[in-house]
């Protein structure tokens, strides 16, 4: 399957992706509605876009007590079925990368569904930091410099999860 690959070494936190996603969800530009989030840390000069990677064994999907999170057989996307989501928020707690958020109007959880296979965030990313690529090919770019940037940012030394 293809996923949205994010490249913090190209992102400029222009927020095109957040607007494009929010628009797709609600027709408005409230970035709180976006399923992709970009964090910018001026001191570190770091721009970190992040969205769901549609984990092979999606913990959100397994944990959802409503069976509302399913993999789309065509796109491979892990999707929340708003008609079955009870709004229990267990998936929010389950996702290790914070890729699910709660819609305070509809009272259901929301996440990236890859726009049915043509993600708007990528189409509106003018820096090229977002690419829609085969999962196996994702994150093969300039590992080293990216790792260093992230390590500096997060002060990490151990392998993440």
């Amino acid at each position: 399957m293809r996923i949205v690959e994010v490249d913090p070494t190209s992102c400029v936190a222009c927020r095109n992706c957040e607007y494009a996603c929010a628009f797709k969800q609600t027709g408005d530009f409230d970035i709180k509605d976006s399923n992709i989030r970009v964090n910018f840390y001026p001191e570190e000069r770091a721009c970190i876009p992040w969205t769901c990677v549609h984990c092979g064994e999606g913990w959100c999907m397994e944990v959802c007590p409503a069976g509302a999170i399913l993999r789309n057989p065509e796109t491979g996307a892990v999707e929340i079925d708003a008609n079955h989501c009870a709004g229990c928020k267990m998936c929010l707690l389950a996702c290790p990368s914070g890729s699910i958020h709660f819609d305070k109007v509809e009272l259901v959880s929301k996440k990236c569904d890859l726009c049915g296979g043509d993600p708007a965030c990528v189409k509106f990313c003018t820096s090229g930091a977002l690419q829609f690529v085969e999962e196996e090919e994702a994150y093969s770019f300039r590992r080293e410099s990216l790792d260093n940037k992230l390590k500096r940012l997060f002060g990490l030394n151990k392998r993440g999860s």
Binding site: T9, S10, C11, V12, A13, C14, R15, N16, Y19, A20, F23, G27, D28, F29, D30, I31, F40, P42, E43, R45, A46, C47, V122, K123, F124, C125, T126, S127, G128, A129, F141, R142
Partner: protein, 678 residues
């Protein structure tokens, strides 16, 4: 089932002109996304593009001609409006002469054939007074480079080993240029950003020189000095293809890294590092200069100094450097050769001979003065299309007074703007989705033709308007083409690209293959035929021959009453000059104006984020909410405020009498102000 159709054209929500797919249902546009085949944007778009749908169907859009009456604006039939305008123009021409009639062309209509139509019209009428937004945009850079290299080159980002973005913020101002820069970086290029602010592009910079506003020339000369001192320059190129190197080298000697630090605030070590980085990448150094250095009293020479780097590095017209563009040899609409009107005293041509000499255009700020004073001769009528100077030109109050005092003021726009409010007639204009025109992407030497996708009954495209008016004024012979499609056919006539072929290639057609090192065979487009570090042309006009650096006024003679320096005009991604404030969701994203300031300044003023502050310059005051940036994003003592807001118009503060002496560009990026907490 609704009838669905997809049409490719170019987005013109900004001047980048990205290729788009326009999706129609029963003739109505329902969506827009990126068209993948065009090399400019490769299918990617910024979020403004989709808002074109909202713009064209906006409930506030003007769809009928309006006429000012005692009761305010009233709708009148289109033909009547044109008849009345023609009649009044002829009366003014009779009374004050043709040159009392002027045209003001704005950014919103672009720089292709629509610009040339306006120029053609006014010349056909016998007036040299063509004004445009270029009195304060683009020309500064164009002149700077033209004086040195003969034209403004395009950065060959993708082949570059070092990209220098100087006073520009592509992510917000030229969104898809960002992907080109990032492609270069992925291939290993270094990114240098020169900007007083940590702009969006600076977030990815390997080196960011956060110089004080208006000190660009000192930095550029410092780099030249370093490159020469460390032998990091292209001897052979300099020797064969340039004039004035010795003088420049001599002049630059004074710009040691220490002196540069003292002027610009950029540490001497950083200056050395910048020089080392570009020298290591030479000749594959691509430099893009933005609006930042233009709006200063020393703008042109600062830009000239930056332009000199191309030749010193041997990067000019080399792969990965700055490539000289070969133009599209089509028919041109302008009439400067057929009807020269220089003898009629184009407004501003005496004071800014380079502006008229290079671009045949008049100086808007001088024009405003002329309207008010009647000197040296009256300007009594103006047709303004696609501009909003009541918000975007400096010294708003004066602009409003002048435009409001005209005997006839006609405005063409999509919306009722503060400028249109001053008009006698407001005519509904066609959006880019309602026009056929040819666009050039210089970077790819490609032309692309746009499509007329929509048509509203009383909305004329630019050509139809000029055509219909010209025929009422007895100059119809200059507008013989039936419509803009026929006009476009004529423009293409001398080329090997037919209208039909252009229409069949929404991805654009390369009109001439890209070549490098054209200087091996062809002279530069300068008086000497060489790169001119030193310009006899300028010297003859009484300007310094070398790109001499003059410190900005706020540094040279600080005014204790106005201790802050205000940068205006940094672009926001979703707004374009004064446009799109009426797109509802854009207001969700950025609800209103704000002024950026340093946290220490905010603390000293006792200002919290979002608090209203009053900014006052010598000529006016505005109140605006404060946006406190982080300490690394803006220099202390420096403010930044974006233009184009009705609610807090920064041009109430900017001066219309302080210019760069060569280009006539106003000082807009280093305005001395004071700040109070209100």
């Amino acid at each position: 089932m609704p009838e669905r159709e997809t049409v490719q054209t170019l987005c013109r929500m900004c001047d980048d002109r990205c290729a788009i797919n326009v999706y129609l249902e029963d003739g109505k546009i329902v969506d827009i996304d990126g068209y993948k085949e065009h090399p400019w944007n490769r299918g990617r778009l910024c979020v403004k593009a989709r808002a074109a749908v909202d713009m064209v169907y906006h409930p506030e859009r003007l769809l009928k001609p309006l006429k000012r009456t005692k009761r305010g604006f009233e709708e009148i039939p289109l033909q009547q409006a044109l008849d009345e305008i023609a009649e009044r123009l002829l009366a003014i021409k009779d009374k004050h002469g043709a040159r009392s009639i002027s045209i003001w062309k704005g950014e919103a209509i672009g720089f292709a054939q629509e610009e040339d139509m306006a120029r053609r019209f006014v010349h056909a009428l016998g007036s040299p007074n063509y004004f445009s937004n270029d009195s304060m945009c683009y020309n500064g850079r164009y002149f700077g480079y033209r004086l040195v290299e003969g034209s403004w080159p395009v950065p060959d980002y993708e082949n570059s080993r070092c990209v220098v973005i100087w006073g520009a913020n592509p992510p917000h101002a030229h969104p898809n240029m960002t992907q080109m820069i990032m492609r270069a970086r992925k291939a290993g290029a270094k990114l240098i950003v020169v900007d007083p602010r940590m702009s969006a592009i600076a977030r990815q910079a390997d080196l960011h020189a956060d110089l004080k506003p208006g000190t660009d020339g000192a930095l550029a000369l410092g780099l030249i000095q370093q490159l020469i001192e460390t032998q990091g320059y292209d001897r052979e190129f300099v020797e064969h293809y340039t004039v004035g190197f010795t003088e420049l080298a001599e002049y630059a000697k004074a710009f040691s890294p220490e002196r540069v630090e003292e002027q610009t605030g950029v540490a001497a070590a950083v200056v050395r590092e910048l020089a080392r980085t570009i020298a290591a990448a030479a000749p594959r150094v691509a430099v893009y200069v933005g609006n930042g250095p233009e709006h200063h009293e020393n703008g042109i020479n600062n830009i000239r100094a930056v332009a000199c780097l191309d030749a010193i590095l041997g990067a000019l017209d080399r792969e990965g450097g700055n490539r000289l563009v070969e133009g599209f040899k089509a028919n041109h609409l302008t009439l400067y050769d057929e009807i020269p009107l220089e003898h009629l005293g184009p407004i501003g041509a005496d004071r800014f001979p380079v502006l008229y000499g290079f671009r045949q255009e008049c100086h808007t700020m001088t024009g405003i003065n002329t309207i008010l004073s009647g000197e040296p001769y009256p300007i009594r009528a103006m047709i303004l299309t696609a501009a909003n100077p009541a918000l975007t030109n400096p010294n708003t109050l004066k602009v409003r007074e002048a435009l409001g005092s005209l005997d006839l003021f006609v405005v063409r726009d999509l919306f009722m703007t503060p400028t249109a409010e001053l008009a006698d007639y407001v005519l509904p204009a066609a959006s880019f989705l309602e026009r056929v025109e040819l666009h050039t992407h210089a970077k790819y030497q490609r032309i692309t033709m746009t499509r007329k996708i929509l048509k509203f009954p009383d909305v004329q495209d630019e050509y139809q308007f000029w055509h219909d008016l010209a025929h009422r004024l007895g100059i119809g012979e200059y507008f013989p083409w039936e419509d803009e499609t026929e006009l476009t056919r004529w423009i293409l006539e001398p080329t090997d690209i037919s209208l039909e072929r252009a229409a069949a290639h929404p991805e654009g057609i390369e009109y001439t293959p890209i070549r490098y090192r054209k200087w091996e065979k062809e002279p530069f487009n300068t008086p000497s035929g060489k790169v001119e570090f030193s310009s006899q042309y300028l010297k003859d006009l009484g300007y310094p021959a070398l790109p001499e650096y003059k410190p900005p006024a706020y540094l040279e003679s600080p005014d204790p009453e106005y201790p802050f320096v205000l940068i205006t005009g940094a672009r926001k991604l979703i707004y374009y000059h004064s446009r799109f404030r009426n797109i509802k969701r854009f207001r969700t994203a950025i609800p209103g104006p704000e002024v950026e300031l340093h946290p220490e300044d905010a603390a000293a003023l006792g200002v919290a984020d979002g608090d209203s502050i009053r900014i006052t310059s010598r000529i006016g005051s505005v109140e605006v909410p404060a946006k406190i940036k982080s300490a690394v994003e803006i220099l202390p003592g420096t403010l930044q405020m974006t233009h184009g807001w009705k609610e807090a118009n920064v041009n109430l503060l900017t001066h219309d009498d302080r210019f760069d002496p060569i280009s006539g560009f106003p000082l807009m990026k280093a305005v001395e102000v004071q700040v109070e907490n209100v």
